[in-house]
């Protein structure tokens, strides 16, 4: 049926019609892109160069917002520090623990589906309810975490009220959702052809060597994916901090998201909030490009490489 080569079509007319239909199908997205993405991006860039507090007309002030941010604003430094602390604490743990659990589960474990569900559940639920729950888990006097730790003789820790511990608390809470990266690793592990392990075993590679020379290289695209998505998400942390600490104690969890939200919708400084948002965006883009840049050196594509 399809063996014969397709006869020459009335090419130009058919293609033009297909092109028009193509544009029609993506038109809603394209309109949405202009109205809800591109337009607002340009406008917020403009706002960031003005003095505008939700009233009157924006007054152009050039780079003044940015200059103030980098030279005088202590809250900006709080955001920068807390956000980076969180990202640096969370990302490596998410990558390593997620992989470790996935490896454990990949050993043809009985009841794997049940385990998988139990580990994955905390990753899919989120929001205010979860934040309220964790707030009470971390409660200094009556929380279950300190109760468990006291069984091992640990004195009660002010998880959410002590600036020294609050970031640890946020990282612990985020690692609760490690099932998200685990599930991706598990899929990655299962897509590694078993022949590779057999070949490695014949060559005399022990388990550790197999892990280092087969598993890790084959898994680098997955690690890369977990790293990039984790990075983009972690920089935008908001809800948990908004509910559990409100940015405290003493601005120790005054993440970028909180700073932008409070600046825009509590102090109504729309212009400065836009400037903050652009710096956040710039940081995310710069780090993403950096990771992409290094990926050539460590991400291994089995198909011989994607020239994307």
């Amino acid at each position: 049926m399809t063996v014969q080569t397709t006869p020459p079509k009335p090419k130009s007319k058919f293609l033009r019609r297909e092109a028009i239909e193509g544009y029609l199908f993506i038109l809603p997205w394209l309109i949405g892109f202009v109205i809800f993405r591109f337009g607002p991006m340009v406008y917020s860039m403009f706002l960031s160069l003005t003095d505008y507090a939700a009233r009157g007309a924006p007054k152009f002030v050039g780079l003044e917002n940015y200059i103030y941010m980098f030279t005088k604003d202590p809250r900006f430094l709080d955001s920068l520090r807390s956000t980076f602390q969180y990202v640096v604490g969370f990302l490596p743990l998410n990558i390593i623990i997620g992989l470790a659990i996935a490896m454990l589960m990949n050993q043809k474990v009985r009841g794997m589906t049940t385990f998988r569900a139990v580990y994955y559940l905390p990753a899919v639920i989120s929001g205010v309810a979860v934040a309220i729950l964790w707030q009470f888990v971390f409660h200094k006097q009556w929380g279950i975490l300190n109760a468990i730790l006291s069984l091992f003789g640990v004195k009660s820790i002010g998880w959410l009220v002590d600036p020294k511990w609050v970031m640890v608390a946020f990282v612990i809470m985020s690692i609760w959702g490690v099932g998200g990266s685990m599930i991706i690793y598990l899929a990655g592990l299962q897509s590694i052809p078993t022949e590779l392990y057999e070949a490695a075993a014949i060559d005399g590679a022990n388990r550790f060597r197999q892990f280092r020379s087969v598993t890790i290289p084959m898994l680098t695209p997955t690690i890369f994916f977990v790293l990039i998505t984790g990075l983009i998400a972690a920089f935008q942390i908001f809800e948990n901090a908004y509910i559990m600490t409100g940015g405290g104690p003493n601005y120790a969890t005054y993440f970028f998201g909180l700073n932008i939200y409070f600046t825009a919708f509590k102090t109504l400084n729309f212009a400065y909030a836009s400037a903050l948002a652009w710096i956040l965006f710039a940081i995310i883009v710069a780090l993403t490009i950096m990771v992409f840049g290094t990926s050539r050196r460590w991400v291994f594509y089995a198909g011989g490489g994607d020239d994307a």
């Binding site: 474990v109 991706i184 948002a277």
Partner: protein, 298 residues
């Protein structure tokens, strides 16, 4: 047929059972199960804490050492949530927002996904790339212009800012639809075309019915998104009776900040989570598929 597969299966089965008892393997599996069980137990602790707290009296919550199991479960905490707050209303509001949002997302994302997957037009790759890059754009960059825009058209304190943008599609869901549509054989499309179907009918009557898994996946992901979202309700809604569950819980939390009525707050939180947990167990497979598609593609 059945007789032929039988002998092939038996030797494979015997080789595995005939293996001598492997002590190293046994210990390895013991450690594996030990680790997996303790990890699972740790992950379940917060859930246990939530349930047990929701059934306690206030004095039981405020004691040290903590009460692990409430003496007599106070079921009354659950109905009390509905008496103390318009919780039923919050649940209903969340349902309305989620339903509108899901319908919008399905329409907008499937259309664009089809265009990107099956129709050739100049600039397609570039536009699809553009679409994917919007996933990187933090909502924070556009939140102020969005607020100003929706204020200008008088949509503040309505559900329109949640539902209307959904109809323009969402990059991640466009991507999922595109992946699914690309897997549908071209022959089906060609056959329908020969039968005189136009492109829209091919999309609506052939591609969509064949894409039930991705429709379900997108619906579930969107449900979670709208159900849990806090930022946009915080920015767009003002009257308490319009609040979704997320904002309602927040109200409950701030109203109780002085006296901390933990049992009722945990009861409320648990009820807010319940739809998500149930949905997770019902649709676990779709969830995992949805995540895996994205992970493997990149």
């Amino acid at each position: 047929m059945t007789t032929k597969t039988q002998p092939a299966a038996t030797p494979a089965a015997t080789t595995t059972t005939d293996l001598p008892f492997n002590r190293r393997h046994f210990f390895q599996m013991l450690v594996t199960y030990g680790l997996l069980f303790s990890g699972a137990a740790l992950l379940m602790v917060p859930f246990y804490w939530m349930i047990s707290t929701s059934l306690k009296t206030l004095p039981e919550v405020q004691t040290w050492p903590i009460v692990w199991v409430p003496a007599t479960p106070v079921w009354q905490n659950y109905p009390a949530v509905f008496q103390k707050t318009p919780f039923a209303r919050y649940l209903l509001n969340s349902m309305v927002i989620a339903t509108g949002g899901i319908i919008g997302t399905l329409v907008g994302s499937s259309l664009a996904g089809f265009g990107f997957a099956r129709l050739r037009f100049p600039g397609r790759n570039f536009l699809f790339f553009l679409c994917l890059t919007t996933m990187m754009l933090p909502a924070w960059v556009v939140i102020v212009p969005h607020f100003m825009m929706f204020s200008a058209v008088g949509w503040i304190d309505t559900y329109l800012p949640f539902i209307v943008p959904a109809f323009f599609g969402n990059a991640y869901h466009i991507f999922l639809f595109r992946q699914s549509f690309m897997g549908i054989p071209r022959e089906l499309e060609d056959a329908a075309r020969i039968d005189g179907c136009n492109t829209f009918r091919i999309f609506a009557q052939i591609f969509l019915p064949l894409s039930k898994p991705v429709i379900a996946t997108v619906s579930i992901f969107s449900f979670y998104y709208y159900w849990n979202d806090l930022v946009y309700p915080l920015v767009y809604l003002q009257s308490q009776l319009k609040f979704p569950v997320s904002l309602g819980l927040r109200m409950f939390q701030t109203a109780n900040s002085g006296v901390v009525d933990m049992p009722k707050m945990m009861a409320a939180s648990l009820m807010a989570l319940l739809p998500c947990v149930v949905l997770f167990f019902v649709a676990q497979r779709l969830f995992i598929q949805g995540v895996v598609i994205t992970g493997v593609e990149k």
